[in-house]
């Protein structure tokens, strides 16, 4: 059973890998018009070819790149129905070793990247509404680390908490303005992607023993997050805004 995203025009950032690539693939399979973007201009073309969708090089820290990406969506499909702000990087360092350049780059990608994307997407959704209340769904990929903690993850946790509350603040603001544009955050727990792999000893991510601290006891796949994102894009979630949706196999329960 799936939730309908057919014919929706969906822009997904960080789509060359992991959660973004899985979301692009599932959305395309289910009939959405996908614009898949990534900093890695080469790998994104591979994903685009697999998904039969548009692939674009797009650094989410660049305002010009955001303008390009939204223009491409409108050029090809006439509008933008959904944005998945998903590009991300991670950093594991004790706070006393963390220099400001790395702290800033984490916040640039997650916080500034999502902020610029929200501004541009809301502007486009309003512009295309033709005097009627604007519609659209924006999903930010935050993390359970928005509300949890682990050693050496302070910079990432700061950035993800900012993203989660950005969804809440902007969701309230655009709703109160009379628009039907919705903004929600998805908060994944540990998910089997290259981002997580980099944080673990070689081979550990694919070892079932590593997943025993997740109550459901199986590796969480990028598709599991993609399913929640697609539900949030579908009209069946049209009464959801300013929320955080946790997908973590129960990881954050204890």
């Amino acid at each position: 059973m799936t939730f309908d995203v057919k014919d929706k025009v969906v822009l997904i950032t960080g789509a060359a890998s992991g959660i973004g690539a899985a979301t692009a693939r599932l959305a395309a399979e289910r009939g959405a018009h996908v614009i898949a973007t990534d900093l890695d201009g080469e790998r994104i073309q591979g994903v685009a070819a697999d998904c039969h969708c548009i692939g674009l090089k797009h650094d989410v820290t660049s305002e010009d790149d955001w303008d390009n990406a939204i223009t491409a969506a409108v050029h090809h499909y006439g509008r933008l129905d959904a944005l998945v702000s998903n590009a991300g990087i991670v950093n594991y360092e004790p706070i006393i070793d963390l220099d400001m350049a790395r702290f800033r780059s984490l916040n640039q990608v997650h916080v500034e990247g999502s902020f610029i994307g929200l501004q541009r997407a809301v502007a486009q959704m309003r512009a295309q509404a033709d005097g009627k209340p604007a519609t659209g769904s924006i999903v930010l990929t935050a993390s359970v680390m928005a509300n949890c903690a682990a050693p050496t993850i302070s910079a990432y946790a700061v950035a993800k908490a900012a993203m989660a509350n950005m969804a809440r603040a902007v969701g309230v603001e655009v709703g109160r303005k009379g628009d039907m544009i919705r903004v929600n955050a998805v908060c994944p727990g540990p998910t089997r992607t290259p981002l997580l792999e980099g944080a673990m000893p070689p081979g550990a991510m694919n070892d079932p023993a590593h997943w025993t601290d997740v109550p459901l006891g199986v590796p969480q796949e990028p598709e599991d997050i993609a399913e929640s994102i697609l539900f949030l894009i579908s009209e069946e979630s049209s009464f959801m805004t300013a929320t955080q949706m946790v997908v973590d196999g129960g990881w954050s329960l204890t």
Binding site: M1, F3, G171, R176, G217, Q220, S228, T243
Partner: protein
């Protein structure tokens, strides 16, 4: 093989809408409530939509009723794939005027019903070896405060947190069972119209409290319950899923 979903409170509002949505997703519906006429109407609506359903009348606050119901279900069905605990009730009254008897009555209807439902749901899923999903309908009131609703807020906070712990137990079963709470904001059903009246002023009040400024419907909650019951939510357990039009966010 046809999957089976039990829906309590299926004679009205959120429960009935959820029964219909799950039927559209292909589940055979086991609808429950106390009122047999309204139960028959739910079965009729499911069948009219092309689904299959049966109705069982019992009181969700009675443990012996749950035990008998569980027996009937596991004798007749080979799997129990979803259980939506939607039966519940509501009242609003300033705390100084609320009697202990009124508090206990609501606690029984909203908390004990869900505790029993989850207990017998886990048993039915264990006995049929089903990797099921239990969805407990809590409320936004279980997460933030509402004026003159101390008893209801306390009860729904209990349901929300109880569901988290039940999720841990469900995850220890084999096969594993997922448990989540689903927390609606204000939804325009008989629960609201019964307490505040059914007119444009109530609707306007409800709309204005939501950031999205529209009335929440039973169908909005039915969709979220169906998501939680479905394989799309395979890794979602122990969460409180908020569907409130942004009401709680500001």
């Amino acid at each position: 093989m046809t999957q089976t979903a039990i829906v309590t409170g299926a004679t009205s509002g959120i429960g009935r809408a959820t029964a219909l949505r799950l039927a559209r997703a292909g589940f055979h519906i086991i609808a429950t409530g106390r009122n047999p006429d309204r139960g028959a109407e739910t079965v009729r609506q499911v069948q009219a939509a092309g689904g299959t359903a049966e109705f069982h009348s019992f009181d969700v606050t009675s443990e012996s009723d749950w035990a008998a119901f569980a027996n009937t279900v596991t004798s007749a069905h080979t799997s129990v794939d979803a259980l939506i605990n939607s039966a519940g009730s509501f009242f609003s009254k300033p705390l100084p005027d609320t009697t202990l008897a009124e508090f206990r009555e609501l606690w029984t209807a909203d908390v004990e019903s869900v505790v029993l439902g989850t207990k017998y749901g886990l048993r039915m899923m264990r006995d049929t070896q089903s990797a099921g999903s239990i969805v407990n309908i809590s409320s936004l009131a279980g997460l933030i405060g509402l004026d003159d609703c101390a008893a209801y807020c306390a009860a729904k906070a209990a349901v929300t947190h109880f569901s988290r712990v039940a999720a841990l137990e469900g995850a220890q079963m084999d096969p594993k069972v997922r448990v989540n709470s689903l927390n609606p904001g204000v939804i325009y059903t008989e629960m609201i119209t019964g307490a505040y009246g059914d007119n444009d002023a109530v609707k306007a009040f409800v709309m204005d409290g939501n950031a999205l400024q529209r009335v929440g419907t039973a169908e909005d909650i039915a969709s979220a319950a169906t998501f939680l019951a479905s394989p799309a939510a395979r890794m979602v357990t122990g969460t409180a899923m908020l569907v409130d039009g942004g009401r709680g966010a500001d």
